[in-house]
């Protein structure tokens, strides 16, 4: 979000593109993607049976490929795509492809500043990751659960370190999986490893582990927390002090353990999606205090308002405020902020954004197929055929709105003060 300070935050609406048509002869254009700063719009364009290109703001990249997919803007507004030429695949950022090509690449990831780009790779049947064009020295039988450190300096994945034939159940039980960091596998081989995650400084890696069919654990840098659990979910590092928190199930109920010690007493029917505030002061997670009733808990304290479904908690920088998506029994979505839902409900509510100070929550909302942006429960006027998620400026007093309306690509900066509760 700090990157956003250099964007145009002048209030008002601007037509970025009068037309989203393609300048060249083409068969079709695929879905549009907007850059985070709202200055550029991109899509894959199919030029002929055997040729695809990348369309950005009306122009098609010079590089052409047999096939292109997964166009994604990084946080720094640079566009990266996955592209196939002559059967092999590579990665292209801003019309410049990586030198090497590979059997298959997928799953583009960016560092927080967008400077580093990583993808998952399969090269001649072996699996690993590539960061900025550099492939892991060691590749594995299989790999998944790929991740890139926030600073982009390191990458990790769950890997199958030991080959295994068909239906080799005993071998699997003895352990063939582990975590590899920058291609280096941990010594500790286990039955399953999932969701490796880096600390903010990229020095530590943690993951969910299954030791036996029913003993679950959390591993940090190849070592295990002393206790095992009935089950665990994705761990997260505290960005301020490097502590590690993970939802764990013990005695039939869910709680949160921090650095191996129970921090939230297990009393929930469910607990997942843990997230620390930026300053590390608070920990939030989605919990179910009763069967079928979900809400958000902050530092172990659940909100009293519950929903059948809650998703995507976001926290203000200091953790004092939180918002999440919520779905009610009529299949309608809304945003619940600081324990209270917005008044209106929608066919869909997309990923929520929260201002750094927590005063405002905003999200793209959908009714009858049309998109609008809503802030603290108020809908902004413009109706879009397609909009993108709103972004707050670093000061938290304006939001950036991006969307397509009547064939035009619009960008608006809207002050939000009037929506303060």
């Amino acid at each position: 979000m700090r990157l956003a300070s250099s964007w145009d935050w002048e209030p008002g609406q601007r037509v970025v593109l009068e037309s989203t048509k393609c300048s060249e002869e083409h068969e079709w254009q695929e879905e549009f993607y907007a850059s985070p700063d709202g200055e550029r719009l991109a899509c894959v364009v199919r030029l002929s049976d055997f040729e695809s290109g990348v369309w950005v703001n009306g122009e098609v990249w010079e590089s052409r490929f047999d096939r292109v997919w997964y166009p994604r803007f990084g946080p720094d507004n640079r566009l990266t795509v996955l592209a196939q030429a002559e059967m092999d695949w590579t990665v292209a950022t801003e019309d410049a492809a990586w030198e090497d090509s590979y059997t298959y690449v997928w799953g583009t990831r960016f560092s927080e500043d967008g400077a580093h780009v990583a993808v998952s790779v399969q090269q001649d049947g072996a699996y690993g990751m590539i960061v900025d064009g550099k492939i892991w020295d060691t590749l594995y039988e299989n790999a998944n659960n790929f991740t890139l450190s926030p600073d982009g300096s390191r990458s990790a994945a769950a890997v199958q370190a030991i080959p295994m034939g068909q239906a080799e159940v005993a071998k699997f039980k003895a352990g063939v999986f582990t975590v590899a960091v920058d291609g280096q596998a941990w010594d500790k081989i286990v039955m399953n490893a999932w969701t490796p995650v880096f600390s903010k400084d990229a020095r530590k890696v943690a993951a969910q582990i299954r030791l036996t069919h029913f003993d679950y654990a959390i591993a940090v840098d190849g070592g295990l927390w002393p206790d095992t659990y009935q089950m665990v979910w994705e761990p997260v590092f505290n960005p301020a002090n490097g502590q590690l928190a993970a939802p764990v199930k013990a005695g039939g109920a869910w709680g949160v353990a921090i650095d191996g010690l129970m921090a939230w007493k297990p009393r929930f029917f469910q607990c997942w999606q843990p997230v620390f505030s930026r300053n590390g002061q608070r920990l939030a997670a989605i919990v179910a205090p009763e069967y079928g009733e979900f809400t958000v808990a902050i530092d172990g304290q659940p909100w009293s308002w519950t929903y059948p479904v809650i998703d995507q908690v976001v926290l203000s920088d200091d953790g004092s405020c939180a918002a999440a998506r919520a779905k009610d029994n009529d299949e309608k979505w809304t945003i619940i902020k600081d324990g209270k839902p917005w008044e209106r409900t929608y066919d869909m509510v997309f990923s929520p954004a929260i201002s750094p100070d927590g005063a405002f929550a905003a999200a793209k909302v959908e009714k009858k197929g049309q998109h609008r942006i809503a802030v603290n429960g108020h809908e902004l006027e413009t109706v879009f055929d397609q909009a993108w998620d709103p972004v707050f400026n670093p000061e938290g007093d304006k939001i950036l709105v991006r969307g397509l309306s009547q064939g035009k690509f619009l960008r608006a900066v809207v002050p939000v003060e009037q929506y303060r509760y």
């Binding site: 096939r67 790999a143 998944n144 029913f214 469910q270 179910a288 479904v309």
Partner: protein, 443 residues
């Protein structure tokens, strides 16, 4: 302790044998007590206590009917040979006994719940069997093949060890294939905000890619806003549910629903699979604490029906060969789609013949409940255990059987072969694909 019945028909399975070889009675008792105390409650207690041992459920089970009413195959007898004994001995049973429990629970009951229509008390034999399976899982006594499948689920989030790249690669390949027929066809990957997430089962990208192809044609030609994820979470199947590994069941169901929520779709439409529907609609969601599916799940039949109703799916020609319909347990007894299934079939097939009994009372294919996934050692168990199905099929006298479920296909295929009914099996989508209007097709 061992009772005539299962002990007289022991089948060698490496997984089961290796499992029991490590066990002692004390270990068994400890584990059983933990499961019973920690995970069961009033339901099991009441079922055990109030089952009147009246035997009325016997006629409900295809295994019993197919084995000339051998009493040991009656639903209550399966429980008598497993859970009742376990309870009677407070869990102190022998490893050999556990072998028998596993063989019964994994291969002699499809958890199809047909017997529920026969028990006056309302006892859920399928549930009791699932508890037996849970115990066997915790004891590490699970048939080899289905255990391997559960391992695949845990390691790859899909049933067939499909690696992360093989999935999008298979979709892109099917997209290319289908473009020969429909030049502008797309399989849109990772489109946030699409209406529909089309989800399939693990074997489709490996062995049944034509089903993905046909679904893509259907989606394109009826103008749907749809997408498929390029990440794990695409697979809706779930053999962990059937081995009793509920932790892995929860993990893969969460991956599936999280994928749907990440893509912000309004509903998941799934292909013609029964057990996956059960996992998503009934079992997995509950284990995770969601009272109902957190994202609406629609079985293919319901979807086809909607397309026909809305006039989006148009019929170009009818399928005139006489057909019959097999009602898959998990979506008929499990979701009440019998009328919609018939309406879809009749829309395309003017010569439709009912098999009897049908609808909720239809006999299971005997592959369900994970039985077919227990692999070759148990193939005969399900073929012999479903003579009644073969008789049902033969009685219809039609050449084509529609079975809108993957497991049913596997099961019926073997039965058709073994009993030489000479019938051809089809998915609904096979017929729809053949007979629908395809405005964008070239030829």
């Amino acid at each position: 302790m061992s009772i005539p019945g299962i002990r007289d028909r022991k089948i060698e399975d490496v997984g089961l044998q290796a499992g029991v070889d490590r066990l002692t009675e004390d270990q068994i008792q400890k584990t059983i007590k933990k499961v019973l105390k920690g995970e069961t409650g009033a339901k099991l207690k009441l079922y055990a206590e109030t089952c009147m041992r009246c035997g009325l459920c016997a006629e409900g089970c295809h295994y019993y009917m197919s084995h000339d009413k051998d009493p040991s195959y009656a639903p209550v007898s399966k429980v008598r040979q497993t859970m009742w004994e376990i309870l009677r001995h407070n869990g102190k049973v022998s490893p050999e006994f556990i072998y028998g429990c596993a063989q019964i629970a994994y291969t002699e009951c499809n958890m199809c719940k047909r017997c529920a229509h026969y028990c006056p008390l309302g006892i859920d034999i399928g549930y009791i069997i699932s508890v037996v399976r849970r115990i066997c899982h915790k004891l590490g006594v699970v048939p080899l093949y289905i255990q391997d499948t559960a391992h695949s689920h845990s390691a790859t989030m899909n049933q067939m060890w499909v690696k992360d790249d093989e999935w999008p690669d298979a979709l892109q390949w099917q997209e290319d294939e289908a473009r020969d027929e429909i030049p502008n066809l797309r399989i849109p990957l990772e489109v946030e905000g699409a209406d529909i997430f089309y989800s399939v089962i693990g074997p489709e990208p490996k062995f049944r890619t034509q089903l993905i192809y046909q679904a893509a044609v259907l989606m394109n030609e009826t103008g749907q806003s749809w997408t498929m994820p390029a990440t794990p979470g695409w697979d809706n199947s779930d053999m962990a549910m059937y081995t009793g590994d509920y932790e892995v069941m929860g993990r893969i169901k969460r991956a599936h629903f999280d994928t749907a929520m990440r893509l912000k779709v309004k509903r998941i439409v799934m292909g013609e699979c029964g057990h996956a529907f059960r996992s998503i609609y009934d079992m997995g969601n509950r284990w995770l604490g969601w009272k109902m599916h957190p994202v609406r799940v629609m079985h293919a039949i319901e979807f086809y029906h909607e397309l026909l109703e809305k006039g989006q799916l148009k019929i170009a020609k009818t399928f005139d060969t006489p057909v019959t319909l097999h009602d898959p347990c998990n979506i008929i007894r499990g979701r009440g789609l019998m009328d919609q299934a018939r309406e879809v079939v009749k829309a395309f097939c003017p010569n439709f013949v009912e098999m009897t009994p049908n609808r909720e009372h239809n006999y299971c294919c005997c592959a369900g409940g994970g039985v077919i996934n227990c692999g070759p050692p148990f193939k005969n168990v399900r073929v012999e255990g479903n003579k009644v199905k073969a008789e049902q099929l033969i009685r219809t006298g039609v050449p084509v059987v529609i079975a809108p479920c993957h497991n049913c296909h596997g099961g019926l295929e073997d039965i058709i072969h073994a009993y030489k009914t000479g019938q051809e099996l089809k998915f609904l989508i096979d017929i729809i694909y053949e007979c629908m209007e395809k405005p964008d097709a070239v030829e």
